[in-house]
Symmetry: D2
Subunit: 317 residues, 4 copies
């Protein structure tokens, strides 16, 4: 039989499946039909206890950038901060106390070190009834989510605090470069070789770990090239591997995805709820005697109805 | 000698002292002349290791509110969130991927569950040279800080991640009420009695712990009364005690301060760098078999030049 | 024949008509298929010359409110203004020059005295091909307009400056009240009687005039009731009359529309491009010896892709 | 006697004068001690009638740019516009009406075609009592104006609508160039020669006219060079002449000022209340048979407490 017959059959099957209740990536096989928390569900009390046990010295490493005016941003996103007057309030009382506020405007969950939550990425598909719909994680569609003042479903407030084992995969070190070049497709062999160089085995990774990839692009920051270049990206094989590993989330010092097809966004975030922390900063780690397994902390802000979150990722070991 | 003589002497002494280099609350006795991190300096690797050791089960408690439109805010502060179009981007590529962003405007570090950082509160004083200046933590003055686009010194990015022992002082439980009434001045006796009821001794507290006060006002949230009423506040005696205890920070489910003199803001934050987390939420804790000592996590966002930070405070035990 | 047969026929007819090229309200009969300026097209050089000729004394009347924090706004709209630091810039140069900026956030074309432009109101309809579409003035649909960063078609920048004859219809004066009560449906008889009281004839109105209705609700401003109450509204008969009169625009001191069906928005703005200036202020006029025909000026800001505009409407006579 | 003696005397005299009530540029000699409207006071009913009489054909010329994302802005100023969701509201009612809003953030009175109002520019000076103060138009000082949420005095809402005679001084045409080069200091001879070329006499100008200078820089827009280059600027002699002419305001297609001393801002705006409309667009005028005297309309938005205003300047003749 010809390929086109298979293609046709696939289309028919997928059309049959694409109702609100059932579709190619929903209900989520791991977390069930009403889940909005994705990979963060791996963060159980037991997982936390295990992650904390990795800490020996208590040394803290900052794995994010500061948020500041002028940092690199994609497209037309923006970030502004103001001090309204100075001082903003006062002097007040006998003791002439004064206060300052800041006023911030911006795509706060989608600038700087940013965590893509469950409402960030979707796909326009044709449903079984012939209608076209934008469908997101776990089959949630536009009609359930759309609101001018914050998503009504799949807001980032649904994601649980990430307190887990962080696994650093230092691809730049394996490649022996400061910064992996543009347009580089990361292979599964690269990952396996990096593990070998790090004295680790693939089987050291456990479900719910956070997989963090050092591409050396934190060295570029805050050069705008980091949001304009085609930064290194995992190929399909690597993304399938990531999904098979069942991490709570992934992260890197770039976006871990590029190109027209947004493989990682589509396969990991959208279809599997494996959320992605972009534009991390590994400077503090790589300047030390390196550890590759550590306590990883990232607590997304509970901004109701937001698509992502800023934050302050930390490694402790 | 009369009191007025002492008062005069004090004035003379303080006038003498009030130069950039030396004044009534600077250089900071604990952390030195150039410090901008205050009580967060207590969070050493050793302290972290000790705090982590409190975790037995790994159960996580959310100690903050979600950030949302319409939440109570002081004065003219505001918080807005938008989804620009829906989807914001796409469909793009063969697979018709779509993306959403959120756009947020607001006094982001001074609304909702909010952490007052080192640049939030100051005092207008007369310097030795006769000039008037707004002076902040560690003697930093307006000229060093003032910038329309974010504080140049004492921004909240200077505060280290708070990973420490949390000590809950459940004043509402001690008083046997859901919510401590308005206008109530918290006494040192209240605190000691609360410890006794909790089976704790004052000496259980160690430098660098986070002192968290349950006033029962999280039950009011999101009623605007919580920002309009004179919520329970510690008197001078309690504030002196707090300072003597040397916590990394304090927190409560209200502001732990009110009235024209802003005692806590002035004595704890401004003069001692003991920062204050306001409008916490103890709902998840008090609905469980209570613990009073636990791992406490709060990672202020590194918003460069901001006066405060939103966040997601957690207890784990 | 039964009603349902007629209903069916109507549906069939309207379905036939509803393509991009032809539908119930497009192409616009007065201005043609590609028009985006609606009633402002009446403002020709000749019309301007005629309008200017009404000016005898040169006295100016402000017909709008100031824009300020706390003014009444519908729903979740907001308006904030800040002075970033003070001064925002400087001192700079030998002469120590300083500068202030303001930073404004808000639904700037949909708060306060506001002009609803061509992209503000649409209707969800079923097209001939069975698809559902949001269609706006002159048949422009969502696909042509939608962009997160400003409308791609029907932005308010397409509206020409309104320099025309203003016709005041003082309904409050006719009714002998300060403020016409809530829930009042304005009738055509009211309008004719008001004209009679004003010593005017309906035939005094010419195409392209701006029809301004005094309902006495400017007296309520800035009470929030003005955006919460069902302010006086024209019934179908009046709206049909307005459309037949061919004004460049309408205006009033409320919204001139309320209730679930938004008759004026739908019939005048959406279908006929007769734009609507809401929340005007007639205080300066009614405190003078009244004129009812005058030079009317309103220059919508050319905010590219905006749905409306703030402004400073003026009467001169 | 030596110059330094005179300088000393000047200093002494000016120090004596610099109280709130009296200083080098206040009370304003033309408009008195409490004035906040500056040159817009020239716009009397008589002036308006005279200006309207210039209109013969009613043809309208747009003299401003559209406001849009990406337009050139000075320093860290910004301008963003969003459509929250699409549609923002609805469908609502039986007829499924939908609505769009726009959300705008930016230094709205200091971006694009912008009118500098009375609170925009000041000077830091030493007062007679030895204190340092930022003083603005008519001697208003920081203490009277400063408020985080909008200026308490000298807000742009105090400026009257500009409905006056516009006088175009086409310096680019006189120079025979499309665009006058960078760093060019405009001389009084240039202005007189331009008048001669235009068939005008200096005495054609009357108090309260708006003086508009075509430098040819509108041709550069939206190239960011227009805010980065040292655009042509009037020297001291020209500024003195402008002040002597007593215009209601000045305008140009650049900022009509540059360099460290901000002569025009300081002498014309600050000291004389002759406000300045920056970044105008003369494209529509110069493509026609040119007129140099016309009705000029500019109605600053009454944004309470703002330092400037966007707008839609028009010429009609």
């Amino acid at each position: 039989m010809s390929m086109s017959f298979f293609a046709l059959m696939t289309t028919i099957i997928s059309l049959k499946a694409q109702t609100r209740n059932e579709g190619p990536w929903w209900p989520n096989k791991l977390w069930g039909a009403i889940d909005q928390a994705g990979g963060s569900n791996w963060i159980t009390p037991e997982k936390i206890v295990k992650a904390l046990s990795l800490v020996k010295t208590g040394k803290v490493f900052e794995l994010g950038h500061q948020y500041e005016r002028g940092m690199p941003m994609s497209g037309q996103r923006s970030y502004n901060i103001f001090i309204p007057s100075f001082p903003t309030h006062g002097p007040t009382g006998n003791d002439k106390v004064v206060f300052n506020d800041e006023y911030v405007t911006g795509e706060i969950g989608q600038v700087g070190t940013q965590f893509d939550g469950p409402g960030h990425v979707g796909k326009q598909i044709t449903m079984a009834d012939g209608t076209t719909a934008n469908v997101f994680y776990n089959g949630v569609n536009e009609d359930e989510m759309r609101n001018p003042y914050g998503l009504q479903k799949l807001g980032v407030e649904n994601v649980k605090p990430i307190i887990t084992r962080g696994i650093l995969i230092d691809l730049a070190a394996y490649k022996g470069v400061n910064t992996i070049p543009e347009n580089y497709e990361i292979t599964l062999a690269d990952i396996r070789n990096a593990f070998a160089k790090q004295g680790m085995k693939e089987s050291d990774i456990e479900p719910g770990d956070a997989l963090l990839f050092n591409l050396g692009w934190w060295r570029i920051w805050p050069d705008k090239k980091i949001v304009q270049a085609r930064t290194p990206y995992p190929g399909k094989e690597v993304i399938d591997w990531i999904i098979s590993i069942k991490p709570s989330m992934v992260g890197s010092d770039a976006i871990l995805d590029t190109g027209p097809e947004y493989l990682l966004h589509k396969e990991a975030i959208l279809k599997n709820g494996i959320f992605n922390l972009e534009f991390m900063n590994f400077e503090s780690m790589v300047s030390e005697k390196q550890q590759y397994k550590f306590l990883f902390l990232f607590t997304p802000l509970r901004l109701k109805g937001a698509t992502g979150s800023p934050g302050r990722p930390l490694a402790i070991y």
